[in-house]
Symmetry: C2
Subunit: 439 residues, 2 copies
Amino acid sequence: MKTLEPLLEFLSIPSVSTDPGHRDDVRRAALWLKDRLEALGFVAALHETPLHPILYAERLVDEKAPTVLVYGHYDVQPPDPLELWETPPFSPVVREGRVYARGASDDKGQLWAHVAALEGLAARVNVKFLVEGEEEIGSPHLLPFVRENRERLRADVVLISDGAMFAPETPTLTYGLRGLCYLEVRLQGARRDLHSGAFGGVAPNPIQALGWLLARLKDERTGKVLIPGFYERVRPVAEEEKRLWPALDEEALKRELGVDCLPGEEGYTPLERLWARPTLDPNGIYGGYQGEGSKTVIPAEAGMKLSMRLVPDQDPEEVADLAEAYLREILPPGYRLEVRRLHGGRPVLTDPFSPPMRLMARALAEVWGRPPVYAREGGTIPVVAELQEALQAPIVLLGLGLSDDNLHAPNEKFDLLNLEKGIAAIRRFYELLAEEGLQ
Amino acid sequence: MKTLEPLLEFLSIPSVSTDPGHRDDVRRAALWLKDRLEALGFVAALHETPLHPILYAERLVDEKAPTVLVYGHYDVQPPDPLELWETPPFSPVVREGRVYARGASDDKGQLWAHVAALEGLAARVNVKFLVEGEEEIGSPHLLPFVRENRERLRADVVLISDGAMFAPETPTLTYGLRGLCYLEVRLQGARRDLHSGAFGGVAPNPIQALGWLLARLKDERTGKVLIPGFYERVRPVAEEEKRLWPALDEEALKRELGVDCLPGEEGYTPLERLWARPTLDPNGIYGGYQGEGSKTVIPAEAGMKLSMRLVPDQDPEEVADLAEAYLREILPPGYRLEVRRLHGGRPVLTDPFSPPMRLMARALAEVWGRPPVYAREGGTIPVVAELQEALQAPIVLLGLGLSDDNLHAPNEKFDLLNLEKGIAAIRRFYELLAEEGLQ
């Protein structure tokens, strides 16, 4: 496969955006991609930011032809823990039809499908590439760039492959993403750590207080989030939308997770809870003594990371306001509370049957020999909501990865069959678009 | 002061019992003390254990004379964090009437008072010293030694200085100690860490579950421990005992802790809650992501350290059984629970007016010019209950430290005034004992 060799080259560049030691590598990855796009006839340039450059490239053939904007990212997660990789993360290898490397699925491999699809394809559609090097650190500079270059980025469809298929050999069109509101909650009790013998009985204990807060945030029996107003803006799912959904194999999911039940909000199916219901989960907690054995301390401080996945029409800032107000209201006496807002992303819902989605569905059906399933995703891609709002164009989310691709984990991989079929489907999409346009 | 120089020598030996690198130093401290006791006419020997030796020494003058057993420990806590010490922890210095060094108050300085008190004192009482080098690691080998040497250790009174005075310039006789039941509680949810976007809504979250457990362990409103049967064996405090207690300066305590209230069990005063009521406190908690910023993980595991201070007649093993049974009962579905028992110690209550306590009260009154206060302590000295049971002798707990001595913390200190007056009071106690005996 002539598309594989360049991908292996791309994957061998350790473009870890969070690590200052890899700053030059990140730029190298951007430049590598720029060269590739220029070889395909694109006019490309790196746009500097205070950190990693944004690559913007365009190949405009006819202003009356439809315009596609492809978004992707060339940066990758850190490879730690290194010792758990079977082969080095930046020495890509192919084993049993999969390429193993950091970034193989997220997102270099999926992005590469969009580049490779253009090779040898007649240029009858305007194509723009917007590729950033800061996705893994929250895209701090992409949004201002998008707002400032709205005209230039204008497109009839935004095409993104940075996700997963619903199941192996199941072409998938994703039309919804959850949003995110991520907080850090810290409690301070006494001025200093205290001996639990000398002061137990009069000292505030921030760990105990975190426990009380957690129990008041989420009902143990019903799994409901107890923040007043939390569910107010949640858009119910129409029965006809649910009929669109594929069946979730709950037994397989339980086996995958190694659990004997799937706890969650009462009154909703697991798939609804994953795709269309908001959640609250503590993602980390700390305080006091964590080492081996015992230490009889009442710590002065304790804290937790607390995130909520949001669904349309919840707004991350509004939810953060509600959560903070509630935390202040239920805070027991004797503690100082600090709430920091770490991260946010708006939920996305797009029309599953928009004209470009319908074209892509046909392309997928031709290549895979079966029609795609329509899926939402439980995760968040903050930039999607931003692109949708800034460009007011329909979005096509075409995930080519699989849920076992080990994103953000050791031994990340990407199935070459999905690369191959993905390239074919994208080519077919361009052909259909050139022939039929978008009605 | 001729008693100071040897103490500085004793304090300069880094006898950190938990650190294998200091094993020889621990032995050196034991040998140093052995020499000192032999110089006072004691027959002394080190008794080997699998770890650090027990020093036993005796000076028997007359089998009809009363016998005193002094208990203490020659090992110390680790000095970390070193950078917070104003002067090096094992280079003792005197500043403003206090000696600063690791072990100054806990317990070398207080133990030294009992050795120095004997210097030049006519030997009219049988004296035994039982000094261990493993107190700071839970006295694993002392108890078997005590049980095997019950006859040899037999005494009319056990004298221990390893605690604090109620307040500065307030001679204090302690007649009660709380016990301890220390558990580690771990929860496992899924088989591996999960992405909170991809699985939030169906995945068990062990951090959230720890919160539910904590809220069910201790009532937020009343401060009561909710474990069924927890309070069943708690001996109420008689009004006459409470009348014995000194007044607690609650405002001063709040200032010391930097808090605006003293949260605790409703219906009891702060002093009762510290001395005569059991408590439950998480001492540490961990799970998920604890670093800077955000990580959207639902961890597979989370855990906490959980300790309960006990009062007569609660029993650590029984309380551990109750707690574990309750935790298993309230465990939400979807989690595996592991409870490890890390540490225990039985509570102690002695007669505040036993004959040796009355003698020591007179000695303290003479030296300080004011009668002692009678206090319980919120902390635990597990060996006291063991000695009390094994030897069936009255215990005199004479704390010579102060609450601001920085035990287990940087800049540990011991007030030389308390050393001096302590020595004088102990000498006077021996004189009164020789003259009047114990009725």
